[in-house]
Symmetry: C2
Subunit: 330 residues, 2 copies
């Protein structure tokens, strides 16, 4: 989604800010309680609850390397990246639309197998879309979601100084999985696809078949967290988005790293789709996850009052993570 | 939108049919009263009315020629093509999401100026989206719409033998406008952009700044039309989609051609975004348009009982219009 605003930054985030300004001046302000551009998903009041809307692009060669994964994997990842935007608001996915632009030789059956199976495994039927030829494969997935009961969807902008920061799981497995996929095959290994990646199979799986944390997001919302975001660009970047939107600083004490991944992969890798949550009610959050039978959330740090301060174990939190190299425009 | 199903055809429409089958088997059947893949927009029951969802792709070099139009024009056209899918169901557009994948050098300010102004002029705020780099510019616009009062959204599949077929206006101006844009400049003309295209200016305008017939679609729905579709692929192709979905034949007596366009452009050009309507209550339709202060709809023919018959003034209706050259896949 068109997300955060990194003031003074160049590239993608500055471009998004210019777009936000351009669009905002054309339309009336959102009704009270609605959030348009600026979060993982748009939040719209509908009936007695909320409608969520998110669009996510997956571009072959940018978000997905077809040298090391199949079109079905790309389709799965494209669907999950959009579903995760709904999860990050604490919503339930309802319907998906899929736009596919790509070369005429693209194996659509394989691509839609991945798109469809990811959607089905998250309980979100694909109800429409569009198809076009293009020189490069671009998949645009739109997902609608709902929040039917209080509290409302969780924004990334609600964190306050003193909030404890949690993640739903260890990070870096997706980036490590891509590293494994790109490594030259180890010739001493026995043949056979089954254990092709041996102990690294779970890392590869994390990269090609990630999961959107829909239940975790919903439980966190109901446990009253103040702010939430999914780890799509990398922990460092996504923490930055949350801190920026909330006007807080962050002190990180601990980076939970997936087995087989490095801390750098955990901080900068992204696409793990774990959720970052900020809350002043940490006992309530831990208990809610336990009662729902979910893995215990991991406390990684605290929100502070100085928005200019982002630290990791007392040092400056390294700026890492993915940003598209957009120019300055005209 | 993922639209019609041309049985036995190759290319785009056959690919869409395979996708529909693949997706349909993965999900439960739509609840009664809902329509998923197969029309201009998905129709979902929501509260006491209906939610409409449509995604439309615009690819530079496929749907829009940047040699002859600006990025602002491309943006405008991308937005209108999605808005028109909502109009074709008789719905009111509510919110838009925009996904843009393109080269880092793309002038996003100009592109969003077109996207935003088209959305604003149709009363549909842009509430979110996504941005990515890609080798070729692809714009994916998703529009949500509503139908709040009876009758329900109008499908393309409801036409019956004996129905009169109407269009909301003359056709071919968009294709003729593209022809004008691609013609070498006439050197005897006086300089100055103001009258660069002289008498052809309205054709150029029709190509670069089309309008979605939102009010016409809504009035037609309330006047009880049986079936409706927008002219996006060309009258011949879109009539074929309506006839195919409805299981009827069509007898066309008259092709209303825009001044300055040819009948071939009217039949095959597409992107006029006029609406084709089938109704057994033609007096009611004409009166409803008159009472709403809209241009009178033009009767062009009749639906027949033989689905294999599509005629124009007694001859076989030529198969024309745009279809993406998708392969057979695996």
């Amino acid at each position: 989604m068109l997300g955060d605003v990194a003031k003074g930054a160049s590239g993608e985030f500055a471009a998004i800010e210019r777009i936000r300004v351009e669009l905002t001046r054309r339309f009336p302000a959102p009704p009270s309680g609605e959030t348009w551009i600026g979060d993982d998903a748009a939040v719209l009041i509908e009936g007695t609850g909320y409608r969520l809307l998110a669009t996510d692009l997956t571009v072959a060669g940018v978000h997905a390397d077809l040298e090391v994964m199949s079109l079905a994997d790309l389709g799965w990842r494209a669907m999950v990246s959009a579903l995760s935007d709904i999860a990050a608001m604490g919503g339930s996915p309802r319907h998906a639309l899929v736009g596919v632009a790509g070369p005429p030789s693209t194996d659509l059956d394989l691509l839609y197998e991945g798109l469809g199976s990811a959607a089905a495994s998250h309980g979100c039927p694909v109800v429409g879309g569009d198809l076009s030829t293009a020189g490069q494969l671009v998949v645009a997935v739109t997902v609608t979601g709902r929040v039917d009961e209080a509290p409302p969807p969780v924004l990334r902008s609600g964190a306050r100084p003193g909030d404890a920061i949690f993640v739903t799981g260890a990070l870096g497995a997706s980036a490590a999985g891509l590293r494994v996929l790109r490594s030259p095959p180890r010739t001493m290994e026995p043949a056979g696809n089954g254990d092709r990646y041996g102990a690294d199979a779970s890392l590869v799986e994390a990269h090609v078949r990630p999961t959107a944390r829909v239940e975790e997001g919903s439980v966190a919302r109901r446990a009253g967290v103040d702010a939430m975001i999914d780890v799509s660009d990398g922990l460092s970047a996504d923490l930055g988005h949350l801190a920026e939107a909330s006007g807080v600083g962050v002190e990180i004490d601990l980076v939970p790293v997936s087995r087989g991944a490095s801390e750098e992969e955990a901080l900068g890798g992204g696409e793990d789709y774990e959720l970052v949550m900020a809350t002043r009610q940490q006992d309530r959050l831990i208990r809610a996850f336990e009662e729902a039978g979910l893995r215990a959330p991991i406390r990684i740090g605290t929100c502070t009052s100085d928005p200019s301060s982002r630290t990791l174990r007392g040092e400056t939190l390294p700026r890492m993570g993915f940003e598209h190299p957009w120019g300055r425009g005209r």
